[in-house]
Protein backbone atom coordinates (compact mmCIF):
# COMPACT_ATOMS: atom_id res chain seq x y z
CA UNK A 1 0.00 0.00 0.00
CA UNK A 2 1.35 3.42 -0.98
CA UNK A 3 0.16 6.31 1.17
CA UNK A 4 0.62 9.88 -0.02
CA UNK A 5 -1.21 11.86 2.62
CA UNK A 6 -3.26 11.48 5.79
CA UNK A 7 -5.58 14.17 7.11
CA UNK A 8 -7.20 14.25 10.53
CA UNK A 9 -10.03 16.63 11.34
CA UNK A 10 -11.78 17.08 14.67
CA UNK A 11 -14.90 19.19 14.95
CA UNK A 12 -16.18 20.41 18.31
CA UNK A 13 -19.63 21.96 18.35
CA UNK A 14 -19.98 24.27 21.34
CA UNK A 15 -23.33 25.76 20.39
CA UNK A 16 -26.25 24.71 18.18
CA UNK A 17 -29.56 26.44 17.59
CA UNK A 18 -28.33 29.28 19.76
CA UNK A 19 -27.98 27.06 22.82
CA UNK A 20 -24.79 25.78 24.41
CA UNK A 21 -23.72 22.18 23.84
CA UNK A 22 -21.97 20.95 26.98
CA UNK A 23 -19.80 18.96 26.70
CA UNK A 24 -19.07 20.07 23.13
CA UNK A 25 -20.16 17.53 20.49
CA UNK A 26 -17.09 15.88 18.96
CA UNK A 27 -16.72 14.30 15.53
CA UNK A 28 -13.42 13.08 14.06
CA UNK A 29 -12.54 12.11 10.50
CA UNK A 30 -9.29 10.50 9.32
CA UNK A 31 -8.69 10.21 5.58
CA UNK A 32 -5.82 8.45 3.82
CA UNK A 33 -4.84 9.08 0.22
CA UNK A 34 -3.47 5.90 -1.35
CA UNK A 35 -2.58 4.65 -4.80
CA UNK A 36 -5.48 2.73 -6.36
CA UNK A 37 -4.13 -0.85 -6.19
CA UNK A 38 -5.78 -1.62 -9.54
CA UNK A 39 -4.73 1.56 -11.38
CA UNK A 40 -3.53 0.92 -14.92
CA UNK A 41 -4.37 -2.79 -14.77
CA UNK A 42 -7.39 -2.70 -17.06
CA UNK A 43 -10.57 -4.45 -15.92
CA UNK A 44 -9.57 -6.74 -13.06
CA UNK A 45 -12.12 -9.47 -12.53
CA UNK A 46 -10.84 -10.77 -9.21
CA UNK A 47 -10.33 -7.98 -6.68
CA UNK A 48 -9.65 -10.34 -3.77
CA UNK A 49 -5.83 -10.33 -3.91
CA UNK A 50 -5.76 -6.51 -3.89
CA UNK A 51 -8.29 -6.39 -1.06
CA UNK A 52 -6.20 -8.87 0.93
CA UNK A 53 -3.07 -6.80 0.38
CA UNK A 54 -4.46 -3.34 1.18
CA UNK A 55 -7.69 -3.46 3.22
CA UNK A 56 -6.34 -4.99 6.48
CA UNK A 57 -3.33 -2.66 6.55
CA UNK A 58 -5.53 0.35 5.87
CA UNK A 59 -8.04 -0.62 8.56
CA UNK A 60 -5.24 -1.15 11.07
CA UNK A 61 -3.77 2.26 10.23
CA UNK A 62 -6.95 4.35 10.27
CA UNK A 63 -9.01 2.83 13.10
CA UNK A 64 -6.68 3.68 16.02
CA UNK A 65 -5.97 7.12 14.56
CA UNK A 66 -9.60 8.16 14.36
CA UNK A 67 -10.33 6.82 17.86
CA UNK A 68 -7.31 8.71 19.24
CA UNK A 69 -8.31 11.91 17.43
CA UNK A 70 -11.82 11.79 18.91
CA UNK A 71 -10.40 11.51 22.43
CA UNK A 72 -13.67 10.16 23.84
CA UNK A 73 -15.65 6.88 23.68
CA UNK A 74 -17.05 6.30 20.19
CA UNK A 75 -20.85 6.19 19.92
CA UNK A 76 -21.38 6.45 16.14
CA UNK A 77 -19.31 5.70 13.06
CA UNK A 78 -19.14 5.66 9.27
CA UNK A 79 -16.71 5.23 6.38
CA UNK A 80 -15.94 6.50 2.89
CA UNK A 81 -14.11 5.63 -0.30
CA UNK A 82 -13.65 8.31 -2.97
CA UNK A 83 -12.16 6.87 -6.13
CA UNK A 84 -10.10 9.03 -8.50
CA UNK A 85 -11.41 9.65 -12.00
CA UNK A 86 -9.57 6.77 -13.70
CA UNK A 87 -10.79 4.10 -11.26
CA UNK A 88 -13.99 2.12 -10.76
CA UNK A 89 -16.30 2.86 -7.84
CA UNK A 90 -15.97 -0.90 -7.28
CA UNK A 91 -12.30 -0.35 -6.38
CA UNK A 92 -13.28 1.89 -3.48
CA UNK A 93 -16.05 -0.46 -2.43
CA UNK A 94 -13.55 -3.32 -2.49
CA UNK A 95 -11.32 -1.58 0.03
CA UNK A 96 -14.03 -0.61 2.53
CA UNK A 97 -16.83 -3.17 2.16
CA UNK A 98 -15.08 -6.18 3.61
CA UNK A 99 -14.57 -7.28 7.20
CA UNK A 100 -10.83 -7.00 6.50
CA UNK A 101 -11.24 -3.22 6.70
CA UNK A 102 -14.25 -2.53 8.90
CA UNK A 103 -13.51 -4.97 11.71
CA UNK A 104 -10.51 -2.91 12.85
CA UNK A 105 -12.81 -0.06 13.84
CA UNK A 106 -15.52 -2.39 15.15
CA UNK A 107 -13.02 -4.11 17.45
CA UNK A 108 -11.46 -0.82 18.57
CA UNK A 109 -14.86 0.53 19.61
CA UNK A 110 -16.73 -2.54 20.81
CA UNK A 111 -19.17 -2.11 17.95
CA UNK A 112 -21.42 -4.57 16.20
CA UNK A 113 -23.46 -2.85 13.51
CA UNK A 114 -22.74 -2.22 9.85
CA UNK A 115 -20.66 0.86 9.14
CA UNK A 116 -22.72 3.22 6.97
CA UNK A 117 -20.72 4.34 3.96
CA UNK A 118 -20.36 6.72 1.06
CA UNK A 119 -18.57 5.63 -2.06
CA UNK A 120 -18.23 7.62 -5.25
CA UNK A 121 -15.86 8.66 -8.02
CA UNK A 122 -14.80 12.30 -7.89
CA UNK A 123 -12.08 14.78 -8.84
CA UNK A 124 -9.48 15.96 -6.35
CA UNK A 125 -10.87 18.36 -3.79
CA UNK A 126 -14.43 17.05 -3.95
CA UNK A 127 -16.33 17.29 -0.69
CA UNK A 128 -17.93 14.10 0.56
CA UNK A 129 -20.42 13.49 3.34
CA UNK A 130 -19.86 10.47 5.57
CA UNK A 131 -23.04 9.08 7.16
CA UNK A 132 -22.72 7.97 10.79
CA UNK A 133 -24.93 5.64 12.79
CA UNK A 134 -24.83 4.22 16.30
CA UNK A 135 -22.15 1.57 16.81
CA UNK A 136 -24.38 -1.07 18.42
CA UNK A 137 -27.90 -0.22 17.25
CA UNK A 138 -28.32 1.43 13.84
CA UNK A 139 -31.93 2.34 14.64
CA UNK A 140 -31.02 4.83 17.37
CA UNK A 141 -32.28 7.95 15.67
CA UNK A 142 -30.38 10.52 17.76
CA UNK A 143 -27.11 9.23 16.32
CA UNK A 144 -27.97 9.55 12.60
CA UNK A 145 -25.60 12.33 11.54
CA UNK A 146 -23.12 13.33 8.84
CA UNK A 147 -19.49 14.40 8.79
CA UNK A 148 -18.21 16.41 5.85
CA UNK A 149 -14.68 15.89 4.54
CA UNK A 150 -12.41 17.02 1.73
CA UNK A 151 -8.76 16.61 0.78
CA UNK A 152 -7.75 19.54 -1.45
CA UNK A 153 -5.39 17.64 -3.79
CA UNK A 154 -6.95 14.17 -3.71
CA UNK A 155 -7.94 11.80 -5.11
CA UNK A 156 -5.74 12.18 -8.19
CA UNK A 157 -7.08 10.04 -11.08
CA UNK A 158 -5.10 6.96 -9.99
CA UNK A 159 -5.76 7.33 -6.27
CA UNK A 160 -8.44 6.49 -3.70
CA UNK A 161 -9.29 8.45 -0.55
CA UNK A 162 -10.40 6.12 2.23
CA UNK A 163 -11.84 7.66 5.38
CA UNK A 164 -13.29 6.75 8.75
CA UNK A 165 -15.53 9.02 10.80
CA UNK A 166 -16.54 8.69 14.46
CA UNK A 167 -18.54 10.74 16.91
CA UNK A 168 -18.71 10.81 20.69
CA UNK A 169 -22.45 11.44 20.82
CA UNK A 170 -25.53 11.89 18.71
CA UNK A 171 -26.53 15.15 17.08
CA UNK A 172 -26.22 18.23 19.24
CA UNK A 173 -29.70 19.11 20.58
CA UNK A 174 -31.12 15.79 19.29
CA UNK A 175 -34.79 15.65 20.28
CA UNK A 176 -36.59 13.36 17.86
CA UNK A 177 -38.75 10.59 19.25
CA UNK A 178 -37.34 7.04 18.96
CA UNK A 179 -37.88 5.09 15.76
CA UNK A 180 -41.44 3.79 15.48
CA UNK A 181 -42.82 5.80 18.40
CA UNK A 182 -44.95 8.05 16.16
CA UNK A 183 -46.87 5.13 14.68
Amino acid sequence: MKIRRITTTVEEVHSEGGRPVDPPARVAVVAAVIDNPWAGAGFVEDLAPGIEEVAPELGALLAPRVVEALGAPVEAYGKAAIVGLDGEVEHGSALIHTLRFGDHLRKATGAGTLLPAVEKRAPAGATFDIPLKHITDATIRSHHQTAEARVPDAPRPGEIVVALAVSAQGRPQARLAPLGSEL
Binding site: T7, E11, T127, R150, P152
Partner: protein
Protein backbone atom coordinates in the same frame (compact mmCIF):
# COMPACT_ATOMS: atom_id res chain seq x y z
CA UNK B 1 -18.90 38.22 25.17
CA UNK B 2 -18.81 36.46 21.79
CA UNK B 3 -19.40 32.76 22.15
CA UNK B 4 -17.52 30.14 20.16
CA UNK B 5 -19.92 28.04 18.08
CA UNK B 6 -17.54 25.46 16.61
CA UNK B 7 -13.84 24.65 16.69
CA UNK B 8 -12.29 22.58 13.91
CA UNK B 9 -8.77 21.21 14.25
CA UNK B 10 -7.15 19.84 11.13
CA UNK B 11 -3.87 17.93 10.81
CA UNK B 12 -2.33 17.25 7.45
CA UNK B 13 0.46 14.68 7.06
CA UNK B 14 2.28 14.51 3.75
CA UNK B 15 3.81 11.05 3.42
CA UNK B 16 5.00 11.52 -0.17
CA UNK B 17 4.87 13.93 -3.06
CA UNK B 18 3.06 12.43 -6.09
CA UNK B 19 5.20 9.58 -7.39
CA UNK B 20 7.97 10.31 -4.90
CA UNK B 21 9.58 8.38 -2.07
CA UNK B 22 8.31 8.31 1.50
CA UNK B 23 9.14 11.47 3.48
CA UNK B 24 8.83 12.56 7.10
CA UNK B 25 5.83 12.75 7.18
CA UNK B 26 5.60 16.54 6.94
CA UNK B 27 2.99 17.61 9.46
CA UNK B 28 0.93 20.79 9.38
CA UNK B 29 -2.02 21.76 11.54
CA UNK B 30 -4.66 24.45 11.56
CA UNK B 31 -7.29 25.20 14.16
CA UNK B 32 -10.32 27.36 13.37
CA UNK B 33 -12.88 28.86 15.71
CA UNK B 34 -16.27 30.12 14.58
CA UNK B 35 -17.40 33.14 16.62
CA UNK B 36 -20.21 35.65 16.41
CA UNK B 37 -18.87 38.86 14.83
CA UNK B 38 -18.84 41.23 17.82
CA UNK B 39 -19.36 44.19 15.49
CA UNK B 40 -22.26 42.70 13.48
CA UNK B 41 -24.92 45.32 12.83
CA UNK B 42 -22.63 48.22 13.63
CA UNK B 43 -21.86 50.88 11.02
CA UNK B 44 -18.76 50.56 8.83
CA UNK B 45 -15.92 52.38 10.52
CA UNK B 46 -17.15 51.78 14.07
CA UNK B 47 -14.60 51.59 16.90
CA UNK B 48 -13.17 48.08 17.30
CA UNK B 49 -11.08 48.65 20.40
CA UNK B 50 -13.39 47.58 23.18
CA UNK B 51 -14.17 44.01 22.08
CA UNK B 52 -10.98 42.88 20.35
CA UNK B 53 -8.54 42.25 23.25
CA UNK B 54 -10.65 39.82 25.28
CA UNK B 55 -11.88 37.79 22.30
CA UNK B 56 -8.54 37.76 20.47
CA UNK B 57 -6.70 36.55 23.57
CA UNK B 58 -9.25 33.84 24.28
CA UNK B 59 -9.09 32.57 20.70
CA UNK B 60 -5.28 32.66 20.60
CA UNK B 61 -5.06 30.46 23.69
CA UNK B 62 -7.80 28.03 22.60
CA UNK B 63 -6.52 27.61 19.04
CA UNK B 64 -2.79 27.52 19.78
CA UNK B 65 -3.45 24.99 22.54
CA UNK B 66 -5.06 22.68 19.99
CA UNK B 67 -2.13 23.07 17.58
CA UNK B 68 0.34 22.18 20.32
CA UNK B 69 -1.74 19.19 21.37
CA UNK B 70 -1.85 17.81 17.83
CA UNK B 71 1.75 18.58 16.83
CA UNK B 72 3.39 17.59 20.13
CA UNK B 73 4.19 20.82 21.98
CA UNK B 74 6.00 24.08 21.25
CA UNK B 75 9.30 22.34 20.50
CA UNK B 76 7.64 20.54 17.59
CA UNK B 77 6.45 23.77 15.97
CA UNK B 78 8.79 25.05 13.24
CA UNK B 79 6.56 27.51 11.38
CA UNK B 80 3.35 29.36 12.06
CA UNK B 81 0.60 31.43 10.49
CA UNK B 82 -2.84 32.87 11.15
CA UNK B 83 -6.00 33.84 9.33
CA UNK B 84 -9.51 35.23 9.54
CA UNK B 85 -12.55 34.79 7.32
CA UNK B 86 -15.28 37.33 7.88
CA UNK B 87 -18.86 36.42 7.02
CA UNK B 88 -20.61 38.18 4.14
CA UNK B 89 -22.13 41.00 6.19
CA UNK B 90 -18.91 42.01 7.98
CA UNK B 91 -15.89 44.21 7.25
CA UNK B 92 -12.55 42.53 6.52
CA UNK B 93 -11.30 44.92 9.20
CA UNK B 94 -13.33 42.97 11.78
CA UNK B 95 -11.23 39.87 11.13
CA UNK B 96 -8.06 41.94 11.09
CA UNK B 97 -8.99 43.36 14.49
CA UNK B 98 -8.95 39.86 15.96
CA UNK B 99 -5.71 38.55 14.45
CA UNK B 100 -3.55 41.64 13.83
CA UNK B 101 -3.23 42.54 17.48
CA UNK B 102 -0.74 41.55 20.18
CA UNK B 103 -3.64 39.98 22.01
CA UNK B 104 -3.60 37.30 19.32
CA UNK B 105 -0.14 37.35 17.72
CA UNK B 106 1.96 37.76 20.85
CA UNK B 107 0.17 34.89 22.55
CA UNK B 108 0.54 32.64 19.49
CA UNK B 109 4.26 33.49 19.45
CA UNK B 110 4.71 32.97 23.18
CA UNK B 111 2.92 29.62 23.25
CA UNK B 112 4.89 28.27 20.26
CA UNK B 113 8.27 29.70 21.28
CA UNK B 114 8.42 31.93 18.22
CA UNK B 115 9.75 35.43 17.57
CA UNK B 116 8.98 36.05 13.87
CA UNK B 117 6.30 38.18 12.34
CA UNK B 118 3.38 35.82 11.63
CA UNK B 119 2.27 35.24 8.03
CA UNK B 120 -1.46 35.61 7.52
CA UNK B 121 -4.46 35.43 5.20
CA UNK B 122 -7.69 37.32 5.66
CA UNK B 123 -10.80 37.29 3.57
CA UNK B 124 -14.58 37.71 3.44
CA UNK B 125 -16.31 34.60 2.15
CA UNK B 126 -19.42 32.51 2.07
CA UNK B 127 -19.69 29.62 4.52
CA UNK B 128 -17.59 26.63 3.52
CA UNK B 129 -14.94 28.51 1.55
CA UNK B 130 -11.46 27.07 2.10
CA UNK B 131 -8.82 29.43 3.49
CA UNK B 132 -5.20 28.82 2.52
CA UNK B 133 -3.05 29.98 5.41
CA UNK B 134 0.63 30.81 4.76
CA UNK B 135 3.25 29.67 7.26
CA UNK B 136 6.69 31.15 7.98
CA UNK B 137 9.52 29.89 10.16
CA UNK B 138 8.77 30.84 13.76
CA UNK B 139 12.14 32.45 14.52
CA UNK B 140 13.56 33.24 11.05
CA UNK B 141 10.68 34.29 8.80
CA UNK B 142 12.81 34.42 5.62
CA UNK B 143 13.81 30.74 5.85
CA UNK B 144 12.69 29.69 2.39
CA UNK B 145 12.43 25.96 3.09
CA UNK B 146 9.62 26.69 5.54
CA UNK B 147 7.44 28.77 3.17
CA UNK B 148 4.33 26.62 2.92
CA UNK B 149 0.58 26.71 3.37
CA UNK B 150 -2.15 24.73 5.04
CA UNK B 151 -5.77 24.80 3.95
CA UNK B 152 -8.70 24.78 6.34
CA UNK B 153 -12.43 24.93 5.80
CA UNK B 154 -15.45 24.89 8.08
CA UNK B 155 -18.39 23.60 6.02
CA UNK B 156 -21.11 25.75 7.63
CA UNK B 157 -19.12 28.85 8.58
CA UNK B 158 -18.81 31.75 8.59
CA UNK B 159 -22.46 32.71 8.52
CA UNK B 160 -22.93 36.32 7.37
CA UNK B 161 -22.62 37.60 10.95
CA UNK B 162 -19.76 35.34 12.06
CA UNK B 163 -15.97 35.29 11.82
CA UNK B 164 -13.72 32.23 11.46
CA UNK B 165 -10.38 32.82 13.20
CA UNK B 166 -7.47 30.50 12.42
CA UNK B 167 -4.10 29.65 13.96
CA UNK B 168 -1.79 27.33 12.03
CA UNK B 169 1.60 25.69 12.37
CA UNK B 170 3.95 23.21 10.69
CA UNK B 171 6.36 20.79 12.32
CA UNK B 172 9.00 21.14 9.61
CA UNK B 173 9.84 22.41 6.13
CA UNK B 174 8.19 21.48 2.83
CA UNK B 175 8.90 18.00 1.48
CA UNK B 176 12.12 18.01 -0.57
CA UNK B 177 13.03 21.71 -0.11
CA UNK B 178 15.78 22.52 -2.61
CA UNK B 179 15.42 26.09 -3.90
CA UNK B 180 18.27 27.59 -1.92
CA UNK B 181 17.98 30.59 0.32
CA UNK B 182 18.80 34.26 0.43
CA UNK B 183 22.40 33.36 1.19
CA UNK B 184 22.72 31.29 -1.99
CA UNK B 185 20.69 33.55 -4.32
CA UNK B 186 22.20 35.40 -7.27
CA UNK B 187 21.71 39.17 -7.14
CA UNK B 188 19.23 39.25 -10.04
CA UNK B 189 18.27 42.51 -11.75
CA UNK B 190 16.15 43.31 -14.83
CA UNK B 191 19.39 43.90 -16.76
CA UNK B 192 20.65 40.39 -15.97
CA UNK B 193 17.54 38.73 -17.36
CA UNK B 194 17.21 41.24 -20.25
CA UNK B 195 13.58 42.04 -19.50
CA UNK B 196 12.15 45.27 -20.89
CA UNK B 197 10.58 47.48 -18.27
Amino acid sequence: MSTVRTIVTHVDEVWAEPGGPRVGPVRRAAAAAVVANPWAGRPVGCDLGAEAPELAARLAVELTGRLLERLGGAAAVAAFGKGAVVGLDGEVEHGAALIHTPYFGNLLREMTGGTSIIAFADDRSAAGSPLTVPLWHKTAAATRSHYQTVQIRVPDAPRPDEIVVVAAAAAGPRPHPRIGDRTTDADVTLEDVKQPV
